[in-house]
Symmetry: C2
Subunit: 321 residues, 2 copies
């Protein structure tokens, strides 16, 4: 068994190969470029961890892990077009650097190459792996569509927002673990628990992300605090505030969301605190961490095998108390 960090290094080394042909360069250069931007490769490592929870690493898991990472990058390339995002991890997005058409086609071909990797695995689990991979791929597309739909809506309910986050973010983390578990020979019950562990962890991570954007320590968080507030992004915090603030506070929040006045961030944060949004968000995160931990406990393997995943929880989401 290996830690997240050990598996991350091992995956990075295995993944540093040429995934695409050389020609036409005008197409494949965009794919090479996007992969070179890097990332933490959390999903493929979770796939490897899902495998190691049950058994020694099945050589096929490396292929599935590569497919997951390529799929994830495909979604980012296309999301960046849809969101008209100029930067990703501080670098130019593909559509900014090479144009929308190449980013579209580069994403398409990256998805096909993801299936090339899936097709490398042996018959034993091939159907099962593609079934889960495809269901997840559809759900991620649905999540992105819901996200775009929400941007056009005035009010979004908390349940609908959680559903969107589940689809757009969590199911891929959950499926990464479960795909590894399938290749590790896990039983149906264990597979379900590891999936639920990943799904709840993913929601907790998103709650934390929204929380830190508003209340994080700028020196530790590494990006501008209040970015979501300035961009009027729908987040766990705004949605809860709109549901829980009343009277004058609610009016003031709605007014601030339409304005670009000085110290907008400070004023919104003050309102969030007055309405108890910060405490609520911490509690919500803890609730999802608790649910994740419950499902990890329920996986029927020895406690020592779960150690790397317990550490992953600490790495991804910090408890406040």
């Amino acid at each position: 068994m290996h830690s997240f960090e050990e598996l991350a290094i091992a995956f990075k080394n295995k993944f540093e190969v040429k995934h695409f042909p050389s020609e036409p360069q005008s197409l494949y250069e965009s794919c090479d470029y996007f992969l070179s931007i890097g990332g933490k490769r959390i999903r493929p490592v979770m796939c490897l961890m899902g495998n190691e929870l049950f058994d020694e690493i099945n050589p096929d898991t490396w292929h599935v892990a590569a497919a997951i990472e390529l799929f994830h990058n495909f979604t980012l390339m296309h999301d960046d077009i849809m969101d008209a995002a100029p930067l990703r991890r501080g670098m130019q997005t593909v559509h900014t650097k090479y144009g929308n058409n190449t980013a579209l086609l580069g994403g398409d071909v990256m998805l096909v190459v993801a299936y090339d990797y899936l097709n490398k695995i042996s018959n034993t689990y091939l159907h099962k792996v593609i079934t889960l991979f495809n269901r997840t791929a559809r759900e991620v597309c649905e999540g992105q569509q819901m996200d775009m739909d929400f941007e056009k809506q005035q009010a979004v309910g908390l349940d609908a927002y959680i559903k969107m986050i589940e689809l757009k973010t969590s199911v891929l983390l959950a499926a990464s673990l479960q795909l590894g578990a399938i290749l590790g020979g896990a039983s149906e019950g264990n597979r379900q628990h590891i999936y639920e562990f990943g799904k709840n962890l993913g929601i907790a991570f998103q709650v934390q992300d929204d929380y830190l954007d508003a209340f994080g320590d700028p020196s530790r968080f590494g990006k501008q605090v209040g970015g979501d507030i300035i961009a009027n992004k729908k987040t766990f915090l705004v949605i809860h505030a709109l549901e829980s603030c009343t009277g004058g506070q609610l009016d003031e929040l709605k007014r601030l969301m339409k304005s670009n006045e000085d110290n907008k961030v400070g004023k919104v944060l003050a309102l969030f605190r007055e309405c108890g949004v910060d405490t609520w968000a911490s509690g919500l995160k803890d609730k999802y961490i608790g649910q994740a931990e419950f499902h990890l406990e329920e996986v029927a393997v020895s406690a020592v095998r779960k150690e790397p995943l317990r550490n992953l929880v600490k790495f991804l989401v910090q408890r406040d108390h």
Copy 2:
């Protein structure tokens, strides 16, 4: 064994099912809409014919045929975005009707659903089928990229143009036949011949398409003659004219291509005829039909089994003599 027409009806009936979930409607409605526009469903029927050349229809072939048709529609949805095409078969394209983002995401999810259909087939041929399907998918993307690259280039050589047509159009026809052949238990040699048959037939079809756009009988052809000339599209005819006209004729052709003067179409067509482009194109088409027929002859099955494919050649490409 069945004729193209019989299989087309059978496929149409089988394909008239719900391929996508209902929610989110904002995503899947675009996919349903695009499939409802219809089309001749040539590729899935070729898949069924490729199967029947060797054996009774393998039930898995219906799944692969559906996957091929969904893949083809995915490429059209994305190509229409890239080409900013307002209409497809006389109907609004998806990006015109629903916006670029939905057309992008709808295409993505349609490709995933294509793989759902591939994943329905039994283990026996699953790896082989995905391998050929994926290689073809990558090639179709490469062909689209070459096509876009050519639009920006002044001069395109005939060999490069043929390569682009092969990738963008022919390989999918070839692969449709070969996928059917694989599921019909064909030998490696027979599979190669049926692939080459489809590839050459596809090129012949494209030459004919370019020819008819310029020299076709408007009453029989059913669309505006000279549309490619008005749009300054690169075609077999223009590329050959630029390579074979000389002196004053070449200068005049280049001048006309930059102009929008009255009777531009008539003047370009006159030049094409003076340079013998019409005769050359007929000969080129016949050459590719001949190569296709050679490979069909080489397939080691009884002549009677080849009858439907011989009729398909007549249906798709007419000999001029």
